[in-house]
Structures are given as structure tokens and as C-alpha cells.
């Protein structure tokens, strides 16, 4: 509950002089404001204005360079702030990029974010299911969300509801930050969200509401903060500030210039360069050389997707339905870091790559010629000469953007595609860009421009208005005004005609139909195992006896265990190429030291598992590929084993060989071992620890933001994998009553194959222990089957490799169809 005594006297949140710079970019500059208990504050600003940085600082993810925070009158050293601390204090954030783990269930997502409830026993799961159900129902009645289903099966609005409910339900909640919470909610759900916000505020919670929907901000918030270029541009009562004023404050002087520029008298229109229809436009659209075309609409209405489709159509590498492109294209990315710059290169290489890529693959490059070719364009974009030899990452965001613009201009394409190129750059650069864009159009290029700042569309000859993935209307230069574009965008929004996005939202959650196909897919490993066994039994009736089963399964037990170990690594989106060799090492250690000196044997085995587990944090901390590290490690394991025991030999400890002969009510040890292994892996996977590990596999950043340690998780992951491989080594000793360092090596690929066949996703986050056991059994039984069929063992590897490829092909085709 909130603490009224100090809370009422002090504002819930007070910032003083918060500043944060990334290189030369000042994301936040000297921010100071406060939010009182029960107050709802709207926070708006263009992309790159610094809202996200501020939110990351408030939630403890990013540490500010200067300034301090005060929560309910208690000063907090921001340099010792962390997500855990923020959570303890009661600051909760609903992120814009959804931070749910898609492969976890709704209830598990509640657990990952709010651990420590539900007691010690196995009832924790029930607790979180009830918690999730209750909090969802309280905010969004009749939501149709099943809390035991994976989030992946939910529609986008449903996910957003889960996200809101998860943060809003926290009893310690003092400051609730909502970052674009309603972007995919319909009218009814948005209203329910607004009611919920009002109710929480009435109970004393401070709320910061970030949205691009200005009308909604005006409706929800009493006070609005406008950010621009990292600073607070405006702070006032929403009642006193009209929407155009908010926009003016967001846009600042650069775009105020735009309103003063001479209105263009229309373009000198050239030939048609782009034609579009079908899925992209409600009525056919022709775009001409010499035109500047704006792509408007609310953010995420399909403008960027259209731009990408144009790029693909122009590059000619993919067919794009509904788009005919009659010229070459070049693309200017606004998301510089992820879609624009090549971080290892300098300015010149970054600028010329577009032209190089357009040429033949074996064209000979001359660095001097390259540089002189680039110079006029770098002059044109006004990149300071002294910066031209610098590595690209040493440039400010604005200068990087100039280089990307130069890249597109050098390529001399007919069509210039701009993906919000002025995002987060300063006024001077913006002015330069507007001039460049005008010049490009005058030179006869077709410019197609997506911007998140509506006022920039005043530079365009025509503006195409997108809604739900479809171009719905075209506004001509004569009718262009910022108000017209905004009101038209919102009119489309309110009309709420179902379009591409809505259709996508409907089809994306695999509902009842696809789910049954999913279930069918989950059965494949079981059916395969059963089928192979039936065929074996038909060929050789002895296989169906207890003795026969024991014989068949004994050979399979090590592979089952190794595969389960591999499964946990794959669950973290990694692949372990050393797990088989490690099982071999455990085989050697248990057949030598464990026999001669049991204590030393136990110690060496534990040390080995410890070394194995240490690989996890090494991979995690250094950001290096697990496959190469584990491949290197496999030579270490095999090398140690080989050094200890150059030729196969040794013997099994008495208790171990005794254990392999145990029968429980006529059930042989091998069957027991397989069943126990499956139960052990399944319960590890279903435990709280397993939930967190799967969460890391699916969405590591989100889980880390909830306060879990990635290093600890990877240590645990590899410790589990190592332990399973250790058990595999012990069973190999028990079965063979001897050891051979090479005995385990063949299990490595087979374990990957078993994991894939068993139904685990290679991108991590989704693992299926029982399926993996079946996959391992199938692979192991195939060997016996081929033997019974009289096929030479030569073909084992090919059949197993082929089976792996076949399963992956099937999966890929299934994924493509969905």
C-alpha cells in the first residue's frame, strides 16, 4: 500500500538536473520536475526527444551522468539506482516495446516480474495464476485471456492488457509509468485503461502517461510535459494548452521554419516511377519523378512496412505484391544504429557502400577514387571535412545521419526512400536535410518520405495517409496543413475500418484451429518413437519383451541424458558442441578415479561440472558465440580424458554396475532411468528456476530488466547441462563397465537432433523435456531398426543427419505457412 504519511507532504517523484549523454548526443539535459501523489502527467515529445532515456533512468535501467532523484521525499543516489531498487520503491513501467516473454504463460510472466510470492511449495504456480486472473479481470473485464496459455498465443491488444495488468497490480505501486500503453487497444479497452489509471491515481499513485495520441493525453492527464532535444520544452495544465500548441512545442524551431517556407506550386512532374495497388492501397496510386511524397498516419500504421516493400521491389531481390517499381532505389534509415551504420568502418566506407553494392560483385575498388567520388556528396550534406576520416561511431547522431544521406545520394538512384531521417537530430541538420530533399526532387528524383513529425509533411507535394497498413487517402499540396493531416489521421483512427493490421492481429494468435495443429506437431516425437518401436517389434518379436526393451533402452539412456542437457542450453538460444565430449570425460573419470579412490573421484567429477558451468558466465560476460567456445571446450574435455586414459579400459564402481541391474516391480533399470530423467528435466523446467531460464531464452533483456542476473542464469544453465552430461557419463560406465573417451563424442550432434525433433525451438525459450526424451529414443532406436532391416551401420549418420534436416524443413515450411 502507499505510505500516506510522508507521501502527501512530498511529491512522489522529484527530479533535479537529470542529464544523460550518449557520446555527443545529449539524450537528457538538466531535467527538473516533480509529480505529486495522485497526479496524472502526460509526457509527449517527438522520437528522439529523450522520453525513453528518461523512462530508463526512472526505472533504474540507465544511470544518469548528473542530477538526482527524490522519491516521496527520500533522496536517491541515482548512481546506485537499479531496476530492483526501483521496483522495491514502487516504480513500475509498462514498456513501449512489449517486455513479455512470449514463450512463457501469462501467469509465468507475472512470476518473472514479481517473484517471491506464493510460498515455498509447489502451490506457487496456482498463486500466480489467480493473481494474473484477478488483476486482468479487475482492469479489463471479459478479456478472454487464458492465464495458463503462452503469451505467444495472445493477440497484440491482449498482450498489451497483460502488460498493463502486470505493472498495475503491484501493491507497492507508487509511480506508474505507461509508455504508449494504448497503441493497439480499441476504444473500449482504451476507456477501461483510462478508468483504471484514474482509479489508481485516486488511490494516491502518481502516473506518467506517454503517448503519441495527443487527444488521449489531453483527455487522461491534467498536466502535460513536452520534451524536445532532451530538454523540457513545456510544462502546463492540459486545460490551458491546445493540441497545436503541444505540437509546436514538440517540433521546435526547425519545423516552425517549415510553416514559413514558400508553399510549393506543385512538382514538375516526370514519368511514373512507382505504381501501387492491391494490399497496399485502397485505390491505385501512381508516384512520379520529381515528387516529394509523404507517408503519414498514426505511428505504426504501415508507413515503414510500405517503405521496406518499396525498397525490396526496387532492389529487385524479392517480388512485392502490389508494387511496381520502375527505377532504382536508395534507402536512408532513421534508426541509425540498427539499420544504418556499419560500426567497424569509417565515414568514407560507410558513405560509398551503397554505390558499391549496386555494382557488379567483382568490380575492382580503388580507395583514392572512392574517396574523391564521395567528397562532393559529403560536401553536399555539409559534413565537416575534419570528420571524414573518422570511424563512423565517433560522429554525433546528426553527422551519422548526414553520412547515411550521402550514401543514398552517391548511389544516384531514381527513388529516394527516407525512413524518418530527421529523428533525434538537431535543428541545423534538419534544415540542411529539408534543403537536400528539395534539391533531390528538383533534380528529378522521386522522394518518398516517412516522418514521425507530422509538420515535416508540409515539405511534401502529396501526402499519403496510412491506416492499419493500407494507404487510405491522398492529400494534395493545396490542401496540406498540419491540422489537416493530424485530423485526417485521427479521423481514420476513429473510423476504425478494419485493415491489414487488424487482420494481422486477428490471425496472429493461433486460435482453436491452429492450436490443434500445434498439438498435433507436439505429438510427432511420440508417434515417431512408437512407430519405430512397433516396426522393430514386428521384425523381431523379442524386442517386445521386458528383456528386449531393456536391451534397446540401455543403449539409449546416455543419449537421453545428453539430449536433456543440450535441451537446457538450447533453451537459452545457444548450442553446446562440447556436451558429448564432456559425457565421455565423465565416463573416463567414473571408470578410473571413482573406482580406485572414490573420494578423489567425486571431487574431480564435481570440479569438472564446475568448470563446465563456468563456460556459461564466460560466454555471457564476453559476448562470444557459445558454439565456438563449447567446440574449444570439447577439445579440452576430450584432451583431459585422453591424457588420463589413452586407451579404453577401466571398470565400473561396484555400486554403479549394481544399480544398472536394479528392477522395480519387474521394470528394468533402463526404463526407470529414462522415466526418472524425463521427470527430473520436466520438473526442473516447470520450476520457478526453469521459468526464469526459459524467460532468458525468449527475451533476455526483459528478464534482466526485472532484476534477474544473466550471469547467474547462464551459470545455472550450464551447470544443469553439465550435470545431465555427468549422469550420461555415469550410465555409460554402468552399461559398458569400462570407459572410452571417444564414446561420448557421437552424442553431440545426436543430442541437437533429439532436441529439435523433440519440439524445442532453436531460437530458445521453448523446450519440451518429454518430447526431447522421445526424440533421443527415436534416434537411438533408428540404429537398431536399420540393423534389423539389414542396413549397414554406415548409413546411420546419414539417416540421422537427414532426419534432422527433414524435421527442420518441415518446421520451416509450417512456420512459413502460419
Amino acid at each position: 500500500m502507499t505510505h500516506p504519511a510522508p507521501g502527501l507532504a512530498h511529491p512522489v517523484l522529484r527530479l533535479d538536473g537529470i542529464s544523460k549523454a550518449y557520446g555527443r548526443t545529449r539524450a537528457n539535459q538538466d531535467l527538473s520536475f516533480s509529480v505529486a501523489a495522485g497526479e496524472i502527467v502526460g509526457l509527449i515529445g517527438a522520437n528522439g526527444a529523450g522520453k525513453s532515456t528518461l523512462m530508463r533512468i526512472l526505472s533504474g535501467i540507465t544511470l544518469p551522468d548528473a542530477g538526482w532523484l527524490e522519491i516521496s521525499g527520500t533522496a536517491i543516489d541515482p548512481r546506485r539506482f537499479s531496476p530492483e531498487r526501483a521496483r522495491q520503491i514502487g516504480i513500475r513501467i509498462v514498456h513501449q516495446e512489449l517486455s513479455l516473454c512470449a514463450s512463457l504463460t501469462v501467469a509465468e510472466n507475472f512470476y518473472v516480474e514479481q517473484p517471491g510470492q506464493g510460498g515455498l511449495g509447489p502451490t506457487w504456480r496456482r498463486h500466480y495464476e489467480r493473481l494474473a486472473e484477478a488483476s486482468l479481470a479487475a482492469i479489463f473485464p471479459e478479456n478472454g485471456i487464458h492465464v495458463r496459455r503462452p503469451v505467444a498465443t495472445l493477440s497484440l491488444p491482449q498482450r498489451q492488457m497483460v502488460e498493463v495488468a502486470r505493472a498495475g497490480v503491484d501493491p507497492k505501486l507508487r509511480l506508474l509509468i505507461l509508455d504508449e500503453p494504448s497503441s493497439s487497444l480499441d476504444m473500449r479497452r482504451s476507456r477501461e485503461l483510462q478508468n483504471f489509471i484514474a482509479a489508481r491515481a485516486a488511490a494516491g499513485v502518481a502516473v506518467i502517461f506517454i503517448s503519441h495520441k495527443l487527444q488521449e493525453v489531453a483527455a487522461v492527464a491534467k498536466r502535460v510535459l513536452v520534451m524536445r532535444n532532451g530538454r523540457l520544452a513545456l510544462d502546463g495544465e492540459t486545460a490551458a494548452i491546445a493540441v497545436p500548441q503541444m505540437i509546436a512545442a514538440m517540433a521546435g524551431e526547425a519545423v516552425q521554419d517549415l510553416e514559413q517556407t514558400q508553399r510549393k506550386s506543385g512538382a514538375s512532374v516526370g514519368r511514373v516511377l512507382v505504381e501501387t495497388e492491391g494490399p497496399w492501397a485502397r485505390s491505385p496510386l501512381a508516384l512520379h519523378a520529381g515528387e516529394i511524397i509523404g507517408l503519414a498516419g498514426l505511428e505504426g500504421s504501415g508507413q515503414r512496412e510500405f517503405l521496406r516493400a518499396l525498397q525490396r521491389a526496387g532492389a529487385g531481390s524479392h517480388s512485392s505484391a502490389g508494387i511496381i517499381c520502375r527505377g532504382s532505389v536508395s534507402f536512408v534509415a532513421g534508426d541509425r544504429a540498427t539499420e544504418g551504420v556499419f560500426p567497424l568502418w569509417d565515414v568514407i566506407a560507410n558513405a560509398t557502400v551503397g554505390r558499391i553494392a549496386a555494382g557488379p560483385l567483382l568490380a575492382w575498388l580503388r580507395p583514392m577514387a572512392e574517396q574523391s567520388a564521395a567528397t562532393p556528396f559529403l560536401d553536399a550534406v555539409r559534413l565537416p571535412p575534419e570528420r571524414r576520416a573518422s570511424p563512423i561511431l565517433e560522429l554525433s547522431g546528426g553527422n551519422q545521419q548526414k553520412v547515411l544521406m550521402a550514401r543514398a545520394l552517391i548511389a544516384a538512384a531514381d527513388i529516394l526512400l527516407l525512413d524518418d531521417p530527421t529523428r533525434g537530430v538537431d535543428v541545423a541538420v534538419k534544415r540542411d536535410f529539408y534543403a537536400l530533399i528539395r534539391q533531390a526532387a528538383e533534380a528529378g528524383k522521386l522522394v518518398i518520405w516517412y516522418s514521425s513529425e507530422t509538420i515535416e509533411f508540409l515539405e511534401c507535394h502529396r501526402v499519403v495517409l496510412f491506416h492499419e497498413g493500407v494507404a487510405r487517402r491522398v492529400l494534395n499540396a493545396s490542401t496540406l496543413s498540419e491540422d489537416a493531416i493530424i485530423s485526417a489521421s485521427f479521423a481514420e483512427q476513429d473510423a476504425g475500418a478494419p485493415g491489414r493490421a487488424a487482420a494481422k492481429a486477428r490471425t496472429s494468435p493461433p486460435g482453436s484451429g491452429p492450436l490443434s495443429r500445434d498439438a498435433l506437431f507436439a505429438l510427432v516425437p511420440f508417434l515417431t518413437t512408437a512407430l519405430i518401436f512397433v516396426v522393430i517389434a514386428a521384425l523381431n518379436h523379442n524386442a517386445a519383451t521386458m528383456f528386449g526393451i531393456d536391451l534397446l533402452l540401455s543403449a539409449a539412456v546416455p543419449l537421453v541424458l545428453v539430449s536433456l542437457g543440450q535441451m537446457f542450453v538450447v533453451g537459452g538460444s545457444e548450442i553446446d558442441l562440447g556436451v558429448g565430449a564432456f559425457a565421455g570425460l565423465a565416463n573416463v573419470l567414473s571408470a578410473t578415479f571413482l573406482v580406485s579412490e572414490p573420494l578423489l573421484g567425486v571431487v574431480t567429477l564435481l570440479l569438472a561440472v564446475g568448470a563446465y558451468a563456468a563456460l556459461g558466465p564466460l560466454i555471457q560476460a564476453r559476448g562470444i558465440p557459445a558454439i565456438v567456445v563449447t567446440l574449444g571446450a570439447s577439445f579440452v574435455w576430450a584432451g583431459v580424458g585422453y591424457a588420463l586414459q589413452p586407451t579404453p579400459g577401466g571398470s565400473a564402481p561396484g555400486w554403479l554396475s549394481a544399480a544398472s541391474g536394479v528392477h522395480l516391480a519387474a521394470i528394468p533399470a533402463s526404463v526407470l532411468a529414462v522415466a526418472l530423467a524425463a521427470i527430473l528435466a520436466a520438473s526442473l523446467n516447470a520450476s520457478r528456476m526453469g521459468v526464469v531460464l526459459r524467460g532468458f531464452g525468449a527475451n533476455p533483456r526483459a528478464v534482466a530488466q526485472c532484476g534477474w542476473s544473466p550471469l547467474a542464469a547462464s551459470l545455472l544453465r550450464y551447470a544443469i547441462a553439465g550435470s545431465f552430461a555427468l549422469l550420461a557419463g555415469l550410465t555409460m560406465t554402468a552399461i559398458n563397465t569400462a570407459s572410452d573417451i571417444n564414446a561420448g563424442s557421437s552424442y553431440t550432434l545426436l543430442s541437437v537432433a533429439a532436441v529439435v525433433i523433440g519440439g524445442s525451438a532453436l531460437i530458445g525459450g521453448r523446450i519440451a523435456p518429454v518430447g526431447v526424451v522421445c526424440g533421443a529414443l527415436s534416434l537411438s532406436l533408428i540404429g537398431s531398426l536399420l540393423g534389423f532391416l539389414g542396413v549397414s551401420t554406415d548409413y546411420d549418420a546419414a539417416v540421422q543427419g537427414g532426419l534432422l534436416i527433414a524435421i527442420l524443413v518441415l518446421r520451416a515450411m509450417e512456420a512459413r505457412r502460419a
Binding site: Q311, A315, S330, F331, A333, T338, E339, G340, V341, F342, P343, L344, W345, A349, V353, G354, I356, A357, P360, L361, L362, A363, W364, L365, R407, I575, L618, R622, G623, I624, P625, I627, V628, V629, G632, A633, S634, F635, V636, A638, G639, V640, Y642, A643, I741, V752, V756, L762, D794, Y795, D796, A797, A798, Q800, G801, L804, I805, L808, V809, A812
Partner: protein, 318 residues
């Protein structure tokens, strides 16, 4: 003060060059047994490794942690095919070489198809394809009858010119051509772009599919040629003869200074990395360390180099 450090960082191959010089100096001082003769042996082994490793380098350069794990299987199969088809004659060699080259190129093309079209992670695709090739090698082993080596191939693989092994000259020429391909052609430039940022490369107009396919086909073809040469050098083919190249080809690439996540590759570095790795193994042999320990040390060296190079990468991503 900082200039030499900057230069070293810009020329990552220099680390392996320094390593080679240090190790060589140590060996020369410590033991009289390390003669010019054994240096020639090192050069020859390193050259065979370098040919495969340069192929691996192209695969690694495509980025995203891609690695070609089918290289050992291609080497083994190619060695068998060369022996069987050529039958030890020069005339037979002209049938054998196109065949093994075709096998290598086809393997690379299939790898690329699985990776690009089916979006299977490179290591699984190449490992699975390698399995299928292993079976082909097993079958070839059954039909293996002759140990005769075609004279031309023997000349290429095992003779010396003025004391320098012919194979070293071949590997050197290959490294020089690869270096030119990487730094002076459109293909090399776009390959490095792809390795740094696939999305940005594609938006800049690079043909991602074509570039990746060529890289994996180069890897397959070089492994196939290497297998043919190895069969002449060892005077035969045997199962598992490519196996050491699994770790060592990746090792030479990484030790040579190519970034394991792609985007920056150095053919000269890969050649030097191969020499350094072989020199390390030779040192251990001279020191009388058992084979197991040699494997262990190689594994540790590669993990250590990766861990040390990883710092540069995490800095890059910020």
C-alpha cells in the same frame, strides 16, 4: 604513445605474427632440436590448415556467429574421391579434381540454401550436411583400393622449391588473392557490410543471399581442394582425416584476428593464425606432451583468444 596500440588494433593479424616470433624465438633458444627442417614441417602443416581456414574465414565473415562445420567432412570425402577417381594417374586427376570441386561447391550451396531459405542456424545446417557426407566417406572407404598418388598432385602437395614447400606458396597465393577479394572488390566490401549488420546491408542494396551463398561455396570448394592435396601429402585417405580441421580451422580464423561475429576478416591473419596454431602443437610435441594435453591446450588457447577479443565486440555494440 597510443599510436602503436592503435596500429595493432587496426591490424589484428599482427598479434598472431608476434605470437609466432615469440614462440619461434623461445623454441630456438630452448632446444637445439628445433631445426630449419622442422620449420619446413610446420610450414607445410600450417599451409594445409590455412587453405581450409581461409574457406572457414569466408563463412565466419557472413556474421551472426555463422561457422561452417562441414569442412572436416568435405576434406575427408574429397580425399577419398581424389584417390579413388584419379587412381594415381595424372589423367585420372583431371577427372577427380572437377569432381571434388563440384562436391565442395554443391556442399556450400546446400549449406547456404538451408541457412537462407529455411533459416536453419548455420552450425546445425553444416553439421547435418557434414553427417551425410561422412556416410558418403564411409561408403567410399569400402571401395578404397589404391594408395598411388597422381604425380602432379604429389608435386603440388609435397615438393619444395629452394627449400620452401610448394604448398606454402600455394597457401600464400591463396591468402593474397583472398585478401584482395576482401579489401579490393565489391564482393568483399559487401560481405563485410553483411557481417556487421545484415539489415543495414540489405537496405543499402547488398544482395545478401547471393553474397552468403558465395561465401559458403568458397568454403566448400577450398575444403575440397584441401582434401585432394592432403590425400597426396599423406599418401592416402582415411576416415576422420579431416577431423582435426573442425576446431583448428575455426581456431586459425579467430587467432588470426577475424572477428567471430563477422564483418571484419583478414586472410593474412588467417594464414598466420594457422602457422601459430601448428607451431603451438609442434612445441608441445617437442616438449613431449601427450596428445590429450595438446588438444586441451588448443582448446584453451582458442577460448582465451575469443574471450580476449570479446571485449572489443561488447564495446562496439554500445
Amino acid at each position: 604513445m597510443r599510436r602503436p596500440l592503435v596500429w595493432l588494433r587496426m591490424h589484428r593479424w599482427s598479434f598472431s605474427a608476434i605470437g609466432i616470433l615469440l614462440l619461434w624465438a623461445m623454441l630456438s633458444l630452448a632446444t637445439a632440436r628445433f631445426s630449419l627442417n622442422s620449420l619446413s614441417g610446420v610450414a607445410s602443416s600450417a599451409s594445409f590448415l590455412a587453405v581450409a581456414a581461409i574457406g572457414q574465414m569466408f563463412a565466419v565473415a557472413t556474421g551472426g556467429g555463422n561457422v561452417d562445420l562441414s569442412i572436416p567432412s568435405v576434406i575427408t570425402l574429397s580425399a577419398f574421391l581424389t584417390m579413388i577417381v584419379s587412381g594415381g594417374s595424372n589423367a585420372g586427376l583431371f577427372a577427380a579434381l572437377p569432381l571434388v570441386l563440384a562436391v565442395g561447391l554443391a556442399t556450400g550451396a546446400i549449406n547456404a540454401l538451408l541457412i537462407l531459405w529455411l533459416r536453419i542456424p548455420a552450425i546445425i545446417a553444416t553439421l547435418a550436411v557434414g553427417y551425410v557426407l561422412d556416410t558418403a566417406a564411409l561408403l567410399a572407404n569400402r571401395r578404397f583400393t589404391t594408395f598411388a598418388v597422381s604425380p602432379i598432385l604429389r608435386t603440388l602437395a609435397s615438393t619444395h622449391i629452394a627449400g620452401v614447400p610448394m604448398i606454402l606458396l600455394l597457401a600464400g597465393a591463396l591468402a593474397a588473392c583472398s585478401a584482395a577479394l576482401i579489401s579490393r572488390t565489391s564482393y568483399g566490401r559487401t560481405l563485410m557490410a553483411l557481417g556487421q549488420n545484415e539489415v543495414a546491408a540489405s537496405l543499402a542494396g547488398a544482395h545478401v543471399g547471393r553474397i552468403t551463398t558465395i561465401a559458403f561455396m568458397l568454403s566448400g570448394a577450398l575444403a575440397a581442394i584441401d582434401g585432394a592435396l592432403l590425400s597426396a601429402h599423406t599418401g592416402g585417405a582415411f576416415l576422420g582425416m579431416g577431423r582435426p580441421y573442425l576446431l583448428q580451422s575455426v581456431g586459425a580464423v579467430v587467432v588470426g584476428g577475424t572477428l567471430i561475429f563477422g564483418g571484419s576478416a583478414t586472410a593474412l591473419g588467417t594464414l598466420l593464425g594457422a602457422v601459430l596454431l601448428v607451431l603451438i602443437v609442434t612445441t608441445m610435441q617437442i616438449a613431449g606432451l601427450p596428445g590429450g594435453v595438446q588438444d586441451m591446450v588448443q582448446g584453451v588457447v582458442i577460448i582465451a583468444v575469443l574471450a580476449a577479443a570479446g571485449a572489443g565486440l561488447s564495446r562496439r555494440s554500445v
